[in-house]
Assembly symmetry: C2
Homo-oligomer: 96 residues x 2
Amino acid sequence: MLVIVCYDVNTETREGRRRLRRVAKICEGIGQRVQKSVFECQIDRAQFESLERRLVDEIKVEEDNLRLYRIAELKGYEVREHGHFRATNFNAPLVL
Amino acid sequence: MLVIVCYDVNTETREGRRRLRRVAKICEGIGQRVQKSVFECQIDRAQFESLERRLVDEIKVEEDNLRLYRIAELKGYEVREHGHFRATNFNAPLVL
């Protein structure tokens, strides 16, 4: 199945920027980065549950937002991309 | 059908920040904001084509990235949300 992971992490504080790096690192370990804060992961149910748990452990629910879209059928969606994804220094504070 | 719109707009320039505002405004007119740069739109095929065209007209393909996920069946996906979405001043430069 496909899982789309999107996150908003509040990077106003040093702690928030640390969370952002850790969330990105978890996602990089399992999926493909397609935007600054969007990843696509082709994973199975067990990996999905594990990924969700790890991300929830990292974020601060009072400040951040995490969304996981689980699409069961790979044929069940279509993606259209426009423009380039520029892989820049994601450890620096990001402006979107 | 459900359309998830995600965008990265390069806001290093004044022109880029203007594009970001315009892209957000188009999305606000048709969908629900769920993160700073993620919208969900329940629209039909004609609206989808129109939305895509309008967004492509706004972005600068050399600098920005736009992804539209079209999920044909509303039963074909599941979303899990964690944390709060904080609706702040999106006209200001955004840090994610």
